[in-house]
Protein backbone atom coordinates (compact mmCIF):
# COMPACT_ATOMS: atom_id res chain seq x y z
CA UNK A 1 0.00 0.00 0.00
CA UNK A 2 1.38 3.36 -0.99
CA UNK A 3 -0.75 5.30 1.42
CA UNK A 4 1.06 4.94 4.73
CA UNK A 5 0.49 8.41 6.09
CA UNK A 6 -2.60 7.46 8.06
CA UNK A 7 -5.37 9.04 6.06
CA UNK A 8 -8.75 7.96 7.35
CA UNK A 9 -11.03 6.88 4.55
CA UNK A 10 -14.76 7.01 4.96
CA UNK A 11 -15.60 3.51 3.87
CA UNK A 12 -19.27 4.38 3.82
CA UNK A 13 -22.13 2.27 4.98
CA UNK A 14 -21.52 -1.47 5.27
CA UNK A 15 -24.35 -3.90 4.84
CA UNK A 16 -24.41 -6.77 7.35
CA UNK A 17 -24.58 -10.25 5.94
CA UNK A 18 -23.35 -12.20 8.96
CA UNK A 19 -25.39 -14.44 11.24
CA UNK A 20 -28.46 -13.23 13.11
CA UNK A 21 -29.14 -15.03 16.34
CA UNK A 22 -32.41 -16.73 17.12
CA UNK A 23 -35.01 -16.21 19.78
CA UNK A 24 -33.17 -18.25 22.44
CA UNK A 25 -29.98 -16.25 22.29
CA UNK A 26 -31.83 -12.95 22.23
CA UNK A 27 -33.81 -14.07 25.28
CA UNK A 28 -30.51 -15.01 26.93
CA UNK A 29 -28.99 -11.63 26.18
CA UNK A 30 -31.96 -9.81 27.65
CA UNK A 31 -31.98 -12.12 30.68
CA UNK A 32 -28.28 -11.58 31.44
CA UNK A 33 -28.73 -7.87 30.97
CA UNK A 34 -31.53 -8.06 33.54
CA UNK A 35 -29.46 -9.94 36.11
CA UNK A 36 -26.64 -7.42 35.68
CA UNK A 37 -29.11 -4.55 36.04
CA UNK A 38 -30.39 -5.89 39.37
CA UNK A 39 -26.88 -5.90 40.82
CA UNK A 40 -26.02 -2.55 39.22
CA UNK A 41 -23.35 -4.04 36.97
CA UNK A 42 -22.59 -1.92 33.93
CA UNK A 43 -24.42 0.95 35.60
CA UNK A 44 -23.46 3.96 37.68
CA UNK A 45 -21.82 3.59 41.10
CA UNK A 46 -25.01 4.89 42.70
CA UNK A 47 -26.99 2.01 41.25
CA UNK A 48 -24.58 -0.45 42.86
CA UNK A 49 -24.88 0.81 46.45
CA UNK A 50 -28.14 -0.75 47.55
CA UNK A 51 -27.86 -4.21 45.96
CA UNK A 52 -24.36 -4.75 47.23
CA UNK A 53 -25.27 -3.45 50.69
CA UNK A 54 -27.94 -6.14 50.90
CA UNK A 55 -25.58 -8.76 49.49
CA UNK A 56 -22.98 -7.89 52.11
CA UNK A 57 -25.54 -8.01 54.93
CA UNK A 58 -26.76 -11.47 54.03
CA UNK A 59 -23.19 -12.68 53.54
CA UNK A 60 -22.11 -11.31 56.92
CA UNK A 61 -25.08 -12.97 58.60
CA UNK A 62 -24.25 -16.25 56.92
CA UNK A 63 -20.61 -15.94 57.94
CA UNK A 64 -21.65 -15.14 61.49
CA UNK A 65 -23.94 -18.14 61.69
CA UNK A 66 -21.18 -20.34 60.34
CA UNK A 67 -18.65 -18.95 62.80
CA UNK A 68 -20.95 -19.49 65.79
CA UNK A 69 -21.68 -23.02 64.66
CA UNK A 70 -18.02 -23.90 64.27
CA UNK A 71 -17.27 -22.45 67.71
CA UNK A 72 -20.08 -23.84 69.85
CA UNK A 73 -20.92 -26.78 67.58
CA UNK A 74 -24.60 -25.99 67.54
CA UNK A 75 -26.76 -25.29 64.49
CA UNK A 76 -28.10 -21.77 65.02
CA UNK A 77 -30.05 -21.73 61.76
CA UNK A 78 -30.75 -24.40 59.19
CA UNK A 79 -30.32 -23.49 55.54
CA UNK A 80 -34.05 -23.12 55.02
CA UNK A 81 -34.44 -21.07 58.18
CA UNK A 82 -31.86 -18.69 56.80
CA UNK A 83 -34.19 -17.82 53.93
CA UNK A 84 -37.03 -17.17 56.39
CA UNK A 85 -34.82 -15.00 58.56
CA UNK A 86 -33.78 -12.89 55.59
CA UNK A 87 -37.30 -12.44 54.26
CA UNK A 88 -37.55 -8.73 54.98
CA UNK A 89 -34.25 -8.04 53.31
CA UNK A 90 -35.49 -10.00 50.29
CA UNK A 91 -38.67 -7.95 50.19
CA UNK A 92 -36.73 -4.70 50.20
CA UNK A 93 -34.30 -6.03 47.65
CA UNK A 94 -37.16 -7.04 45.36
CA UNK A 95 -38.84 -3.68 45.93
CA UNK A 96 -35.76 -1.92 44.58
CA UNK A 97 -34.81 -4.43 41.88
CA UNK A 98 -38.20 -4.95 40.21
CA UNK A 99 -38.79 -1.25 39.43
CA UNK A 100 -35.19 -1.07 38.25
CA UNK A 101 -35.99 -3.85 35.76
CA UNK A 102 -39.37 -2.79 34.39
CA UNK A 103 -40.51 0.62 35.67
CA UNK A 104 -37.48 2.37 34.25
CA UNK A 105 -38.26 1.04 30.78
CA UNK A 106 -41.89 2.11 31.07
CA UNK A 107 -40.85 5.56 32.18
CA UNK A 108 -38.23 6.24 29.54
CA UNK A 109 -40.47 5.02 26.72
CA UNK A 110 -37.82 2.60 25.50
CA UNK A 111 -40.33 -0.24 25.13
CA UNK A 112 -41.31 0.63 21.54
CA UNK A 113 -37.65 0.09 20.67
CA UNK A 114 -37.86 -3.43 22.11
CA UNK A 115 -41.23 -4.34 20.66
CA UNK A 116 -40.33 -3.15 17.16
CA UNK A 117 -37.65 -5.83 17.16
CA UNK A 118 -38.13 -9.58 16.50
CA UNK A 119 -38.38 -10.23 20.26
CA UNK A 120 -41.89 -11.53 21.09
CA UNK A 121 -43.48 -9.30 23.71
CA UNK A 122 -43.91 -12.16 26.17
CA UNK A 123 -40.18 -12.83 26.02
CA UNK A 124 -39.44 -9.37 27.32
CA UNK A 125 -41.56 -9.88 30.44
CA UNK A 126 -40.42 -13.46 31.02
CA UNK A 127 -36.73 -12.64 30.68
CA UNK A 128 -37.11 -9.85 33.22
CA UNK A 129 -39.00 -12.19 35.55
CA UNK A 130 -36.38 -14.89 35.21
CA UNK A 131 -33.65 -12.32 35.87
CA UNK A 132 -35.34 -11.23 39.10
CA UNK A 133 -35.93 -14.84 40.19
CA UNK A 134 -32.26 -15.58 39.57
CA UNK A 135 -31.12 -12.51 41.46
CA UNK A 136 -33.30 -13.28 44.50
CA UNK A 137 -32.25 -16.90 44.45
CA UNK A 138 -28.58 -15.92 44.30
CA UNK A 139 -29.18 -13.51 47.16
CA UNK A 140 -30.55 -16.31 49.34
CA UNK A 141 -28.59 -19.22 47.90
CA UNK A 142 -25.15 -17.57 47.86
CA UNK A 143 -24.97 -17.14 51.64
CA UNK A 144 -26.23 -20.70 52.09
CA UNK A 145 -23.28 -21.79 50.03
CA UNK A 146 -21.03 -19.83 52.40
CA UNK A 147 -22.66 -21.64 55.33
CA UNK A 148 -22.21 -24.96 53.57
CA UNK A 149 -18.54 -24.36 52.84
CA UNK A 150 -17.98 -23.31 56.41
CA UNK A 151 -19.70 -26.41 57.70
CA UNK A 152 -18.02 -28.71 55.19
CA UNK A 153 -14.54 -27.52 56.08
CA UNK A 154 -15.10 -27.74 59.81
CA UNK A 155 -16.92 -31.06 59.89
CA UNK A 156 -15.20 -33.76 61.91
CA UNK A 157 -16.98 -36.64 60.25
CA UNK A 158 -15.09 -36.57 56.99
CA UNK A 159 -16.77 -37.16 53.64
CA UNK A 160 -19.84 -38.52 55.40
CA UNK A 161 -20.25 -35.19 57.18
CA UNK A 162 -19.90 -33.21 53.96
CA UNK A 163 -22.50 -35.43 52.28
CA UNK A 164 -24.99 -34.94 55.14
CA UNK A 165 -24.38 -31.23 54.97
CA UNK A 166 -25.06 -31.26 51.23
CA UNK A 167 -28.34 -33.10 51.81
CA UNK A 168 -29.26 -30.32 54.24
CA UNK A 169 -28.24 -27.63 51.76
CA UNK A 170 -30.33 -28.84 48.82
CA UNK A 171 -33.75 -28.35 50.48
CA UNK A 172 -32.49 -24.97 51.62
CA UNK A 173 -31.68 -23.99 48.04
CA UNK A 174 -35.04 -25.28 46.84
CA UNK A 175 -36.79 -23.29 49.52
CA UNK A 176 -34.80 -20.21 48.48
CA UNK A 177 -36.03 -20.88 44.95
CA UNK A 178 -39.63 -20.88 46.18
CA UNK A 179 -39.06 -17.54 47.90
CA UNK A 180 -37.47 -16.17 44.75
CA UNK A 181 -40.27 -17.29 42.42
CA UNK A 182 -43.13 -16.06 44.61
CA UNK A 183 -41.55 -12.73 45.49
CA UNK A 184 -40.26 -12.03 41.99
CA UNK A 185 -43.59 -12.65 40.27
CA UNK A 186 -45.51 -10.44 42.71
CA UNK A 187 -42.90 -7.69 42.72
CA UNK A 188 -42.51 -7.61 38.94
CA UNK A 189 -46.26 -7.52 38.37
CA UNK A 190 -46.65 -4.56 40.73
CA UNK A 191 -43.66 -2.76 39.22
CA UNK A 192 -44.94 -3.27 35.67
CA UNK A 193 -48.02 -1.22 36.50
CA UNK A 194 -46.23 2.09 36.94
CA UNK A 195 -43.34 3.96 35.43
CA UNK A 196 -42.56 5.72 38.68
CA UNK A 197 -39.93 3.74 40.55
CA UNK A 198 -40.79 5.17 43.97
CA UNK A 199 -44.46 4.25 43.54
CA UNK A 200 -43.53 0.78 42.36
CA UNK A 201 -41.21 0.18 45.32
CA UNK A 202 -43.84 1.48 47.72
CA UNK A 203 -46.48 -0.70 46.11
CA UNK A 204 -44.36 -3.82 46.42
CA UNK A 205 -43.56 -3.25 50.09
CA UNK A 206 -47.22 -2.43 50.68
CA UNK A 207 -48.38 -5.76 49.23
CA UNK A 208 -46.17 -7.59 51.69
CA UNK A 209 -46.76 -5.24 54.62
CA UNK A 210 -50.52 -4.79 54.33
CA UNK A 211 -51.23 -8.49 54.12
CA UNK A 212 -49.36 -9.32 57.33
CA UNK A 213 -52.06 -7.89 59.69
CA UNK A 214 -54.66 -9.89 57.76
CA UNK A 215 -52.84 -13.04 58.78
CA UNK A 216 -52.78 -11.80 62.35
CA UNK A 217 -56.51 -11.20 62.42
CA UNK A 218 -57.41 -14.48 60.75
CA UNK A 219 -55.18 -16.49 63.06
CA UNK A 220 -57.00 -15.35 66.21
CA UNK A 221 -60.52 -15.92 64.89
CA UNK A 222 -62.34 -18.64 66.87
CA UNK A 223 -62.19 -21.25 64.15
CA UNK A 224 -59.43 -23.81 63.92
CA UNK A 225 -59.84 -24.15 60.14
CA UNK A 226 -59.59 -20.40 59.54
CA UNK A 227 -56.60 -20.25 61.86
CA UNK A 228 -54.84 -22.98 59.96
CA UNK A 229 -55.59 -21.32 56.62
CA UNK A 230 -54.72 -17.81 57.87
CA UNK A 231 -51.19 -17.92 56.55
CA UNK A 232 -52.46 -18.06 52.97
CA UNK A 233 -53.30 -14.38 53.22
CA UNK A 234 -49.78 -13.02 53.00
CA UNK A 235 -47.02 -14.04 50.60
CA UNK A 236 -44.25 -14.50 53.19
CA UNK A 237 -46.40 -16.70 55.44
CA UNK A 238 -47.73 -18.54 52.40
CA UNK A 239 -44.19 -19.45 51.47
CA UNK A 240 -43.52 -20.40 55.09
CA UNK A 241 -46.59 -22.62 55.06
CA UNK A 242 -45.46 -24.43 51.93
CA UNK A 243 -42.03 -24.86 53.50
CA UNK A 244 -43.49 -26.22 56.74
CA UNK A 245 -45.44 -28.79 54.77
CA UNK A 246 -42.76 -29.76 52.28
CA UNK A 247 -39.58 -29.47 54.28
CA UNK A 248 -40.78 -30.29 57.80
CA UNK A 249 -37.82 -30.50 60.12
CA UNK A 250 -35.38 -28.69 57.88
CA UNK A 251 -37.44 -25.55 58.38
CA UNK A 252 -39.14 -26.03 61.71
CA UNK A 253 -36.28 -27.50 63.71
CA UNK A 254 -35.99 -25.71 67.04
CA UNK A 255 -39.11 -23.62 66.36
CA UNK A 256 -41.71 -25.73 68.11
CA UNK A 257 -43.22 -27.34 65.03
CA UNK A 258 -43.31 -24.28 62.79
CA UNK A 259 -46.52 -22.78 61.51
CA UNK A 260 -49.76 -24.38 62.68
CA UNK A 261 -51.14 -25.16 59.24
CA UNK A 262 -52.76 -28.44 60.24
CA UNK A 263 -53.34 -30.76 57.31
CA UNK A 264 -53.63 -27.97 54.80
CA UNK A 265 -50.09 -28.31 53.43
CA UNK A 266 -51.22 -29.27 49.91
CA UNK A 267 -53.62 -26.31 49.91
CA UNK A 268 -50.69 -24.02 50.66
CA UNK A 269 -48.70 -25.54 47.83
CA UNK A 270 -51.63 -25.24 45.42
CA UNK A 271 -52.26 -21.62 46.38
CA UNK A 272 -48.58 -20.78 45.90
CA UNK A 273 -48.63 -22.32 42.43
CA UNK A 274 -51.85 -20.50 41.54
CA UNK A 275 -50.50 -17.23 42.88
CA UNK A 276 -47.38 -17.46 40.74
CA UNK A 277 -49.35 -18.59 37.68
CA UNK A 278 -51.81 -15.74 38.17
CA UNK A 279 -49.07 -13.14 38.53
CA UNK A 280 -47.24 -14.37 35.43
CA UNK A 281 -50.46 -14.40 33.36
CA UNK A 282 -51.32 -10.88 34.45
CA UNK A 283 -47.78 -9.78 33.70
CA UNK A 284 -48.02 -11.18 30.16
CA UNK A 285 -51.42 -9.57 29.68
CA UNK A 286 -50.02 -6.29 30.88
CA UNK A 287 -47.27 -6.39 28.26
CA UNK A 288 -49.69 -7.32 25.51
CA UNK A 289 -51.37 -4.04 26.23
CA UNK A 290 -48.16 -2.05 26.61
CA UNK A 291 -46.75 -3.37 23.33
CA UNK A 292 -49.75 -2.28 21.32
CA UNK A 293 -49.63 1.27 22.61
Amino acid sequence: MSDATGVIHDIGYQRYTGPRLGRRQVFGALYLHGVRTVFGLGRSAKAKIFPWLVVSVVTVVAAGVTAVRSQIGEVVMTYAQFADAMSWLVIFFAAVAAPELVSRDLRSGVLPLYFSRPLPRGDYALSKLLALVTALWLLLGGPQLVMFLGAAFTTNRGVRGVWDELLDLLPGLLYAGLWAVVFASIALLVASLTGKRAFAAGGIVAVFLMTTPVVGVLSILPSATVNELAFLASPPTLVGGVGTWALGDALTQGQGGGMPIGDFGPVYAAVAVLLVAGCVSLLLLRYRKVAAR
Binding site: G12, Y13, Y16, P19, R20, L21, D105, S116, P118, A292
Partner: protein, 304 residues
Protein backbone atom coordinates in the same frame (compact mmCIF):
# COMPACT_ATOMS: atom_id res chain seq x y z
CA UNK B 1 -40.43 -5.61 -5.86
CA UNK B 2 -43.15 -3.94 -3.87
CA UNK B 3 -41.97 -2.40 -0.63
CA UNK B 4 -45.31 -1.96 1.06
CA UNK B 5 -48.77 -2.93 0.00
CA UNK B 6 -52.08 -2.62 1.77
CA UNK B 7 -55.44 -3.78 0.54
CA UNK B 8 -58.66 -2.35 2.00
CA UNK B 9 -56.80 -1.93 5.27
CA UNK B 10 -59.15 -0.86 8.03
CA UNK B 11 -58.53 -0.31 11.71
CA UNK B 12 -61.17 0.73 14.17
CA UNK B 13 -60.65 1.04 17.90
CA UNK B 14 -63.46 -0.37 19.97
CA UNK B 15 -65.71 -0.40 16.91
CA UNK B 16 -66.19 3.34 17.03
CA UNK B 17 -63.00 5.29 16.42
CA UNK B 18 -61.82 4.74 12.86
CA UNK B 19 -58.06 5.15 12.48
CA UNK B 20 -57.74 3.69 8.99
CA UNK B 21 -60.56 3.28 6.51
CA UNK B 22 -60.30 1.06 3.45
CA UNK B 23 -56.72 2.06 2.71
CA UNK B 24 -55.32 0.52 -0.45
CA UNK B 25 -51.85 1.63 -1.44
CA UNK B 26 -48.76 0.09 -2.92
CA UNK B 27 -45.32 1.67 -3.01
CA UNK B 28 -41.98 0.81 -4.56
CA UNK B 29 -38.64 0.96 -2.70
CA UNK B 30 -37.15 4.40 -2.25
CA UNK B 31 -37.79 7.29 0.11
CA UNK B 32 -41.47 7.48 0.85
CA UNK B 33 -43.12 10.41 2.56
CA UNK B 34 -46.21 9.48 4.56
CA UNK B 35 -47.96 12.75 5.17
CA UNK B 36 -51.12 13.68 6.97
CA UNK B 37 -52.31 15.86 9.81
CA UNK B 38 -51.94 14.71 13.39
CA UNK B 39 -54.46 11.95 13.95
CA UNK B 40 -54.67 11.06 10.26
CA UNK B 41 -53.68 7.48 11.00
CA UNK B 42 -49.95 7.56 10.28
CA UNK B 43 -48.88 6.03 13.60
CA UNK B 44 -51.61 3.39 13.43
CA UNK B 45 -50.42 2.43 9.96
CA UNK B 46 -46.83 2.11 11.19
CA UNK B 47 -47.89 -0.09 14.11
CA UNK B 48 -49.79 -2.35 11.74
CA UNK B 49 -46.77 -2.50 9.43
CA UNK B 50 -44.65 -3.58 12.42
CA UNK B 51 -47.20 -6.18 13.44
CA UNK B 52 -47.80 -4.47 16.78
CA UNK B 53 -51.48 -3.89 16.05
CA UNK B 54 -53.77 -6.31 14.22
CA UNK B 55 -55.83 -4.66 11.48
CA UNK B 56 -59.61 -4.88 11.84
CA UNK B 57 -59.87 -6.02 8.24
CA UNK B 58 -57.92 -5.92 5.02
CA UNK B 59 -54.47 -7.16 4.11
CA UNK B 60 -50.99 -5.78 4.49
CA UNK B 61 -47.56 -6.75 3.18
CA UNK B 62 -44.15 -5.40 4.11
CA UNK B 63 -41.12 -6.48 2.04
CA UNK B 64 -43.29 -9.28 0.73
CA UNK B 65 -44.04 -10.56 4.25
CA UNK B 66 -47.26 -10.45 6.20
CA UNK B 67 -46.79 -8.70 9.55
CA UNK B 68 -50.04 -10.11 10.93
CA UNK B 69 -48.86 -13.71 10.61
CA UNK B 70 -45.07 -13.37 10.75
CA UNK B 71 -44.27 -10.23 12.73
CA UNK B 72 -40.82 -11.42 13.83
CA UNK B 73 -39.63 -11.86 10.24
CA UNK B 74 -40.86 -8.39 9.34
CA UNK B 75 -39.33 -6.75 12.38
CA UNK B 76 -35.98 -8.41 11.77
CA UNK B 77 -35.75 -6.49 8.50
CA UNK B 78 -37.29 -3.22 9.61
CA UNK B 79 -35.86 -0.42 11.74
CA UNK B 80 -38.28 1.80 13.63
CA UNK B 81 -37.73 5.27 15.01
CA UNK B 82 -40.60 6.26 17.30
CA UNK B 83 -41.93 9.78 17.53
CA UNK B 84 -41.69 10.26 21.27
CA UNK B 85 -38.83 10.20 23.74
CA UNK B 86 -37.56 6.66 23.89
CA UNK B 87 -34.14 6.82 25.48
CA UNK B 88 -33.22 5.83 29.05
CA UNK B 89 -31.31 8.85 30.36
CA UNK B 90 -28.65 7.04 32.36
CA UNK B 91 -27.26 4.86 29.59
CA UNK B 92 -24.71 6.05 27.06
CA UNK B 93 -25.70 6.06 23.41
CA UNK B 94 -23.08 3.41 22.65
CA UNK B 95 -24.39 1.06 25.38
CA UNK B 96 -28.01 1.53 24.40
CA UNK B 97 -27.51 1.01 20.68
CA UNK B 98 -25.28 -2.02 21.33
CA UNK B 99 -27.90 -3.54 23.63
CA UNK B 100 -30.68 -2.97 21.11
CA UNK B 101 -28.49 -4.43 18.38
CA UNK B 102 -28.22 -7.60 20.42
CA UNK B 103 -31.99 -7.68 20.89
CA UNK B 104 -32.19 -7.58 17.09
CA UNK B 105 -30.09 -10.73 17.04
CA UNK B 106 -26.59 -9.42 16.39
CA UNK B 107 -23.79 -11.33 18.11
CA UNK B 108 -22.11 -9.42 20.95
CA UNK B 109 -19.00 -8.13 19.19
CA UNK B 110 -20.87 -7.39 15.96
CA UNK B 111 -23.44 -5.42 17.92
CA UNK B 112 -20.71 -3.29 19.47
CA UNK B 113 -19.03 -2.62 16.11
CA UNK B 114 -22.22 -1.85 14.28
CA UNK B 115 -23.44 0.38 17.10
CA UNK B 116 -20.41 2.64 16.85
CA UNK B 117 -20.67 2.56 13.04
CA UNK B 118 -24.35 3.52 13.15
CA UNK B 119 -23.63 6.31 15.62
CA UNK B 120 -20.81 7.55 13.40
CA UNK B 121 -23.10 7.58 10.37
CA UNK B 122 -25.62 9.75 12.19
CA UNK B 123 -22.84 12.07 13.27
CA UNK B 124 -22.24 11.13 16.89
CA UNK B 125 -18.58 10.54 17.68
CA UNK B 126 -16.88 10.91 21.05
CA UNK B 127 -20.07 12.02 22.77
CA UNK B 128 -21.54 8.55 22.24
CA UNK B 129 -19.95 7.44 25.51
CA UNK B 130 -21.74 10.09 27.56
CA UNK B 131 -25.10 9.47 29.23
CA UNK B 132 -28.02 10.20 26.89
CA UNK B 133 -29.73 12.29 29.59
CA UNK B 134 -27.36 15.17 28.85
CA UNK B 135 -27.93 15.17 25.08
CA UNK B 136 -29.63 17.90 23.09
CA UNK B 137 -32.88 17.10 21.26
CA UNK B 138 -30.99 16.85 17.99
CA UNK B 139 -28.52 14.35 19.42
CA UNK B 140 -31.34 12.28 20.91
CA UNK B 141 -33.07 12.14 17.52
CA UNK B 142 -29.79 10.93 16.02
CA UNK B 143 -29.48 8.19 18.64
CA UNK B 144 -33.03 7.09 17.87
CA UNK B 145 -32.11 6.95 14.20
CA UNK B 146 -28.91 5.02 14.95
CA UNK B 147 -30.75 2.34 16.92
CA UNK B 148 -33.11 1.86 13.97
CA UNK B 149 -30.10 1.42 11.72
CA UNK B 150 -27.89 -0.80 13.89
CA UNK B 151 -29.15 -4.16 12.62
CA UNK B 152 -28.90 -3.16 8.94
CA UNK B 153 -32.61 -3.19 8.07
CA UNK B 154 -34.01 -3.14 4.54
CA UNK B 155 -36.64 -0.63 5.52
CA UNK B 156 -36.66 2.24 8.01
CA UNK B 157 -39.90 3.52 9.48
CA UNK B 158 -39.32 7.02 10.83
CA UNK B 159 -42.13 8.61 12.81
CA UNK B 160 -41.79 12.41 12.74
CA UNK B 161 -37.97 12.38 12.72
CA UNK B 162 -37.69 16.17 12.71
CA UNK B 163 -39.91 16.68 15.75
CA UNK B 164 -38.58 19.31 18.10
CA UNK B 165 -35.59 20.23 15.95
CA UNK B 166 -34.56 23.77 15.04
CA UNK B 167 -34.39 24.68 11.32
CA UNK B 168 -30.71 23.78 11.03
CA UNK B 169 -31.33 20.52 12.85
CA UNK B 170 -34.23 19.74 10.53
CA UNK B 171 -32.12 20.29 7.46
CA UNK B 172 -29.36 18.10 8.85
CA UNK B 173 -31.80 15.33 9.75
CA UNK B 174 -33.47 15.47 6.32
CA UNK B 175 -30.09 15.39 4.59
CA UNK B 176 -29.14 12.37 6.68
CA UNK B 177 -32.37 10.56 5.80
CA UNK B 178 -31.85 11.37 2.15
CA UNK B 179 -28.34 9.94 2.37
CA UNK B 180 -29.59 6.75 4.01
CA UNK B 181 -32.21 6.33 1.29
CA UNK B 182 -29.81 6.95 -1.59
CA UNK B 183 -26.30 5.92 -0.53
CA UNK B 184 -27.05 3.20 2.03
CA UNK B 185 -29.53 1.41 -0.18
CA UNK B 186 -32.17 1.28 2.56
CA UNK B 187 -35.76 2.20 1.82
CA UNK B 188 -37.20 4.80 4.15
CA UNK B 189 -40.75 5.72 5.12
CA UNK B 190 -40.80 9.19 6.66
CA UNK B 191 -43.93 10.15 8.54
CA UNK B 192 -44.57 13.81 8.84
CA UNK B 193 -47.34 16.33 9.18
CA UNK B 194 -45.16 18.83 7.32
CA UNK B 195 -45.49 18.19 3.61
CA UNK B 196 -43.03 20.90 2.62
CA UNK B 197 -40.39 19.13 4.61
CA UNK B 198 -40.65 15.62 3.23
CA UNK B 199 -41.32 16.59 -0.37
CA UNK B 200 -37.72 17.79 -0.57
CA UNK B 201 -36.23 14.37 0.05
CA UNK B 202 -38.89 11.87 -1.01
CA UNK B 203 -39.41 10.24 -4.34
CA UNK B 204 -42.86 8.93 -3.44
CA UNK B 205 -45.56 10.64 -1.44
CA UNK B 206 -48.50 9.00 0.29
CA UNK B 207 -51.01 11.40 1.77
CA UNK B 208 -53.68 10.21 4.16
CA UNK B 209 -56.39 12.12 5.93
CA UNK B 210 -58.86 10.77 8.45
CA UNK B 211 -57.55 7.27 7.76
CA UNK B 212 -58.30 7.52 4.04
CA UNK B 213 -55.88 7.68 1.19
CA UNK B 214 -55.79 11.12 -0.43
CA UNK B 215 -53.17 10.41 -3.01
CA UNK B 216 -50.13 8.22 -3.55
CA UNK B 217 -47.76 8.85 -6.39
CA UNK B 218 -44.18 9.50 -7.31
CA UNK B 219 -43.19 13.08 -6.64
CA UNK B 220 -41.92 13.47 -10.22
CA UNK B 221 -45.29 12.40 -11.61
CA UNK B 222 -47.05 14.87 -9.38
CA UNK B 223 -44.97 17.87 -10.37
CA UNK B 224 -44.11 17.50 -14.07
CA UNK B 225 -47.71 17.44 -15.19
CA UNK B 226 -48.50 20.70 -13.58
CA UNK B 227 -45.53 22.96 -14.21
CA UNK B 228 -46.52 26.50 -15.04
CA UNK B 229 -44.77 29.49 -16.52
CA UNK B 230 -44.92 32.71 -14.55
CA UNK B 231 -44.82 35.88 -16.67
CA UNK B 232 -44.39 39.33 -15.24
CA UNK B 233 -44.39 42.51 -17.29
CA UNK B 234 -43.80 45.96 -15.86
CA UNK B 235 -46.90 47.33 -17.56
CA UNK B 236 -49.68 46.18 -19.85
CA UNK B 237 -50.51 43.05 -17.92
CA UNK B 238 -54.15 43.25 -19.06
CA UNK B 239 -53.25 43.50 -22.73
CA UNK B 240 -50.89 40.58 -22.49
CA UNK B 241 -53.50 38.47 -20.70
CA UNK B 242 -56.01 39.23 -23.46
CA UNK B 243 -53.47 38.44 -26.17
CA UNK B 244 -52.48 35.13 -24.56
CA UNK B 245 -56.11 34.20 -24.11
CA UNK B 246 -56.61 34.91 -27.80
CA UNK B 247 -53.80 32.41 -28.48
CA UNK B 248 -55.86 29.74 -26.68
CA UNK B 249 -53.54 29.67 -23.66
CA UNK B 250 -55.48 29.15 -20.40
CA UNK B 251 -53.96 32.08 -18.60
CA UNK B 252 -54.70 32.97 -14.99
CA UNK B 253 -53.82 36.03 -12.92
CA UNK B 254 -51.90 35.80 -9.67
CA UNK B 255 -51.36 39.34 -8.45
CA UNK B 256 -48.90 40.94 -10.85
CA UNK B 257 -48.13 37.56 -12.37
CA UNK B 258 -49.69 35.74 -15.26
CA UNK B 259 -49.62 31.96 -14.95
CA UNK B 260 -49.62 29.83 -18.05
CA UNK B 261 -49.58 26.03 -17.93
CA UNK B 262 -46.47 24.73 -19.65
CA UNK B 263 -47.59 22.38 -22.41
CA UNK B 264 -44.29 22.11 -24.28
CA UNK B 265 -41.39 24.32 -25.36
CA UNK B 266 -43.62 26.10 -27.89
CA UNK B 267 -45.42 27.74 -24.98
CA UNK B 268 -42.26 29.77 -24.29
CA UNK B 269 -42.15 30.97 -27.90
CA UNK B 270 -45.81 31.91 -27.93
CA UNK B 271 -45.46 34.00 -24.79
CA UNK B 272 -42.24 35.67 -25.93
CA UNK B 273 -43.84 36.36 -29.32
CA UNK B 274 -46.86 37.98 -27.68
CA UNK B 275 -44.70 40.13 -25.42
CA UNK B 276 -42.58 41.26 -28.38
CA UNK B 277 -45.63 42.07 -30.54
CA UNK B 278 -47.16 44.22 -27.81
CA UNK B 279 -43.70 45.69 -27.12
CA UNK B 280 -44.05 45.30 -23.37
CA UNK B 281 -41.12 45.46 -20.91
CA UNK B 282 -40.73 41.82 -19.83
CA UNK B 283 -39.77 41.65 -16.20
CA UNK B 284 -39.47 37.93 -15.82
CA UNK B 285 -40.45 34.63 -17.36
CA UNK B 286 -39.67 31.52 -15.41
CA UNK B 287 -40.84 28.01 -14.84
CA UNK B 288 -42.55 27.60 -11.54
CA UNK B 289 -42.78 24.17 -10.02
CA UNK B 290 -46.05 23.59 -8.34
CA UNK B 291 -45.48 22.85 -4.70
CA UNK B 292 -46.83 19.45 -3.92
CA UNK B 293 -48.98 20.99 -1.22
CA UNK B 294 -51.17 22.52 -3.90
CA UNK B 295 -51.81 19.09 -5.32
CA UNK B 296 -53.35 17.95 -2.10
CA UNK B 297 -55.40 21.07 -1.60
CA UNK B 298 -58.99 20.97 -2.73
CA UNK B 299 -58.90 21.39 -6.48
CA UNK B 300 -60.88 24.48 -7.15
CA UNK B 301 -60.14 27.18 -9.71
CA UNK B 302 -57.51 28.93 -7.64
CA UNK B 303 -56.49 32.56 -7.55
CA UNK B 304 -58.49 34.11 -10.37
Amino acid sequence: MTLLATESLTKTYGGRVTALADLTVSVEPGIIGLVGANGAGKSTLIKILLGLLPPTSGRVQVLGLDPTTDPAAVRARVGYMPEHDALPPDLSAAELVTHLGRISGLPRTVARERASEALRHVGLHEERHRAVGGYSTGMKQRVKLAQALVHDPDLLLLDEPTNGLDPAGRDAMLALIHRIGTEFGISVVVCSHLLGEVERICDTLVAIDGGRLLRADRVSAMTTATDVLAVEVSEGTEELAARLAALDLPVTRDGRLLLVPLADDATYDQILGAVAELDLPLHRLDQRRHRVAELFAAREPSHV
